[in-house]
Symmetry: C2
Subunit: 207 residues, 2 copies
């Protein structure tokens, strides 16, 4: 256990703030704090104010709940995106990950979490009602559930499937199987077993 | 290369500020930024302001150059510390490390760097004059050079040794050898060779 006796309360409070970030320990926090001490005052002011400004001024898109600098996010405002497909994700981070693949041209719906009875998160804590409303609109043809393949992800997907199944739309989910670049030998049994069951037609373009 | 297309300039600027910290990449920076977004506004305000406050209000001890909340640091103000021994270190972090060992009861002198011609840092860029002044005071009996055992550390130690050698004081340095818990097999040749040359009387209390 690293318990530095810090020589200054000001430094101590900065170390505590940094170590409140996910995955940051006291040692890294001290390193960051001493780094800031060596910077010009203006830089540290810009550093500190950037967080406050972001937290106070950021918007959430009133359609998909994605973060945005205005009331409607860039993706929902983009006329080139296909409004007929809604990709349902757990969090903002998932939108960023899928956007980075450059393989998706529809719109999104951020649930703001995942059904997890263990953490006390039920369907009513998530943006599910607004998803059903959006999915019921005439031009929507497909809802694409891009949730984690964990117990909670599967539970949420199943719940949404039942809620959406009355509508005349396609419900899809992300493909599962052995990852690209993965060694069969090190693939877990469940994934490998399912990938054998669900074998697909060979497409040379996938390689 | 991870280049997220971030959906907000505010988020983008926070990610850039976080990734300016030593060892923080864009992925971690995004994680920290999204963590802050989920916190109450007051917490983020306290977070951001802690850095600005520290940078603007921190003092450096006018004797040893250690950071402090007042003009004279806690260690220099402590009447129980031995003012006869001055431990010379490169940085604030080294003071914290040595203090954590609870094995030293003298005072410190922070050089604020180390002689490194490659980085353009010469003796005049460091707090060496004030060290010589302090070491010349009547009550000082020992100057203890606790510098890194790197080329730059050795150069600085040698420079200080020459500057101090006219004074009637003891000049010591940290012990070198095989670290506690280290495997001989994995100890580098230079360290092992010197540790054989400089073998010490066996003291059961060291184990």
């Amino acid at each position: 256990m690293f318990r530095p006796n810090l020589p200054s309360e000001l430094l101590q409070s900065v170390v505590e703030e940094f170590s409140s970030l996910p995955g940051v320990g006291k040692k890294s926090a001290l390193r960051y704090a001493l780094h800031l001490l060596a910077l010009p005052k203006e830089n540290v002011e810009r550093f500190g104010n950037s967080f406050i400004k972001m937290r106070n001024e950021i918007h959430y898109c009133n359609q998909c709940n994605m973060i945005s600098d205005s009331e409607k996010c860039e993706i929902c405002s983009d006329s080139k995106r296909d409004r007929g497909v809604i990709c349902v994700v757990e969090s903002i981070r998932d939108v960023i990950s899928i956007e980075n693949t450059e393989q998706y041209n529809g719109v999104y719906h951020v649930l703001g979490g995942i059904i997890s009875p263990m953490d006390g998160i039920g369907p009513s804590d998530l943006k599910i009602d607004s998803l059903i409303e959006r999915a019921a609109q005439e031009d929507v043809k497909e809802v694409f559930l891009a949730l984690s393949t964990t117990m909670e992800g599967e539970t949420t997907a199943f719940y949404l499937y039942r809620k959406l199944s009355g509508l005349d739309i396609k419900i899809s989910t992300i493909a599962r199987g052995v990852g690209f670049g993965d060694d069969l030998e090190y693939t877990d049994e469940v994934t490998l077993g399912r990938s054998v069951q669900n074998r697909q037609p060979f497409k040379p373009s996938d390689i």
